[in-house]
């Protein structure tokens, strides 16, 4: 039986929680859509993509236990900040890891990102299963998986929380859809957009694993290699970010006094909660 080919598309994003309030305020005060200054904060894996990357490894492990092969690849539409993660994925058993040089900021250009991912599948690495996080910041459009599926002519399952390898080698996929938990068996090829999966953290490679695979190289691909004119696509974008506003969430923030946890809980209850809870 031929190996199941899985490709995971992932994104490395700035850690928004590490940004200062002043940076958000500066972005909101700007004249146009200059974006937010994020160069100084650490980079993290988009959380849904992290689930997808680990899910692919577990699927590969489960198939290996039954003696069937899985071929794993990973690609990121992103700059050099993706390379430490690509190296980690190679150490963890991904056969290939590559990034597509974005050439410009694509944070609010989901159609261009989707064209690049679809181009990568068509031109560089064909697969049976494309795993991708269901959304990623800062654009958070959630559109990329569907647009990739459209470009490839493939079906797409979204809000995937579990992928199980059945004994007959077909896949059983669980999705948290709008009205419940749906389990389906998709025909391949297929796009799976991973949502709030229980599998949420990528395993860490051992030093031995890193050393064993340290010579494996990372591929770097240009948009032109994939038949995508990134600058031209950006000029033709039909949905343009024009301005950013802050969101005011501040309330009274009254500090409740007291010497002990009991005193404070008592003051919170008497001064703020008693009447509200009684009315419920």
């Amino acid at each position: 039986m031929s190996a199941l080919r899985i490709l995971v598309s992932f994104k490395v994003t700035p850690d928004f929680e590490a940004l200062r309030a002043a940076d958000w305020a500066a972005a909101a005060a700007g004249d146009g859509a200059d974006g937010v200054e994020t160069r100084y904060v650490r980079r993290v894996l988009n959380c849904f993509d992290e689930s997808a990357l680990e899910m692919a490894l577990r699927l590969s492990d489960a198939r290996a236990e039954r003696g069937v092969a899985t071929d794993l690849g990973a690609v990121s539409i992103g700059g050099r900040e993706a390379e430490p993660y690509l190296k980690t994925l190679l150490a963890l058993g991904y056969e290939r890891a590559a990034r597509v040089e974005p050439e410009a900021a694509l944070d609010f250009a989901p159609a261009v990102v989707a064209a690049l991912v679809a181009g990568y599948v068509r031109q560089v690495e064909s697969c049976d299963l494309l795993l991708v996080g269901c959304r990623s910041g800062p654009g958070d459009s959630g559109a990329v998986p569907f647009l990739v599926a459209e470009a490839l002519g493939w079906p797409c399952l979204t809000q995937v929380i579990e992928v199980e390898a059945r004994p007959d080698e077909r896949l059983r996929v669980a999705c948290m859809v709008d009205d419940g938990l749906l389990r389906v068996t998709p025909r391949l090829p297929c796009v799976l957009a991973v949502g709030n999966a229980v599998v949420s953290q990528l395993r860490v490679p051992t030093l031995t694993e890193r050393l064993a695979r340290k010579d494996k190289g990372i591929g770097v691909v240009a948009g032109a290699d994939l038949g995508v004119d990134i600058a031209g696509e950006l000029r033709r974008t039909t949905c343009v970010l024009t301005r950013l506003d802050g969101i005011e969430r501040a309330r009274d923030g009254v500090i409740v006094g007291g010497a002990t946890p009991h005193d404070k809980a008592r003051a919170l209850f008497d001064d703020h909660l008693r009447n509200r809870i009684e009315r419920l």
Partner: protein, 323 residues
């Protein structure tokens, strides 16, 4: 300008879709507009109810096959080519997002997901939506019709619309025998989402990473249970598997608008705060006076969250016993 609101009963809760779309059309949409509702259904017995739920007076019914979004997109694409409707609204959620983005792709139109508001001008659409994990709101301009827009999940508030008999059914077509087969086999809808109670909660306790460990989260959950409150968690807690994912509150989980929300040991990151910002009253318990949640709460206790919420549960249960 004409618009169409899409009600897809074949993929989910039509009543909640209708309510969210109705709220959005009344409160989130501006411009000189006339609309109709396209209702996708698969069971004739639901027709009357679905017509009564429709958020516009004019209604078109389209019978199709359940859980085949690809077929719905084909029918919508044909509708775009046959009718001069440049604007489509879809309810929030994964179904609406799939239909809107695929329709835009096939018709060469522009899409925007999770709109907070939409202003319609003759040659463009001006929309607002959350970006940067709900740290900011972005303003977007859409240029190429047809414009395919999904509305923000916050337009859904757990309620259902009042049924109305004032509707005109413009057409009723049967497309259920359409071409092709589903790419998905052995469909099995297992559970309704158990987090539904969070979206409709009136009294909610949320545990954050400050709980420290699984035991801390379980102690907060037990305190919530004793107070008669629903229990939710922030993303870091769910990611650590200290509580099930279906308890997740925030931009990637449930949005709740309770009368009382007690946040225990959460810093108040915007992606979480989005999930509770419609609460009537927020109390925060956290030792860090500089945590954003302190300023974003109506009242705050600066102390260990687990200890204080357990004391609070003792007080609430004692007061109830005295009544």
């Amino acid at each position: 300008m004409r618009f169409a609101a899409i009600l897809d009963e074949t993929m989910g809760n039509a009543a909640q879709q209708a309510h969210a779309l109705g709220r959005f059309l009344r409160e989130g949409l501006s411009g000189d507009l006339a609309g109709e509702t396209l209702v996708f259904y698969h069971d004739d017995r639901d027709k009357t109810r679905l017509v009564e739920l429709a958020p516009t007076r004019a209604v078109r019914l389209i019978k199709t096959t359940a859980r085949r979004p690809g077929r719905a997109v084909e029918l919508l694409t044909a509708f775009v080519h046959g009718e001069a409707v440049p604007l489509f609204f879809f309810a929030g959620g994964s179904t609406g997002m799939e239909l809107a983005t695929r329709l835009a792709f096939r018709t060469g139109g522009a899409f925007l997901t999770e709109a907070l508001s939409v202003a319609v001008e003759p040659d463009r659409l001006l929309c607002r939506r959350n970006v940067y994990s709900a740290h900011l709101v972005g303003h977007f301009e859409l240029s190429a019709p047809p414009w395919c827009v999904t509305i923000d999940p916050s337009w859904k508030d757990g309620r259902e619309p009042t049924a109305s008999r004032e509707h005109d059914v413009l057409s009723d077509t049967d497309e259920s025998g359409g071409p092709g087969t589903s790419p998905f086999e052995d469909l099995e809808l297992v559970d309704p989402p158990s987090a539904g109670d969070l979206a409709e909660s009136r009294f909610l306790v949320v545990a954050g990473r400050g709980a420290g460990n699984r035991e801390g989260v379980e102690r907060i959950a037990e305190a919530a249970r004793r107070m008669g409150a629903d229990f939710g968690v922030t993303r870091p807690v769910a990611m650590n598997a200290w509580a099930p994912m279906d308890r997740l509150v925030g931009i990637s989980g449930t949005r709740s608008a309770p009368e009382v929300c007690i946040v225990v040991g959460a810093s108040g990151a915007p992606a979480f705060s989005w999930g509770i910002e419609k609460a009537a009253f927020i109390a925060a318990i956290d030792p860090d006076e500089h945590a954003p949640i302190v300023m974003n709460a109506d009242a705050a206790v600066l102390d260990d969250g687990v200890a204080v919420v357990e004391e609070l549960a003792n007080i609430v249960t004692a007061e109830r016993a005295d009544d």
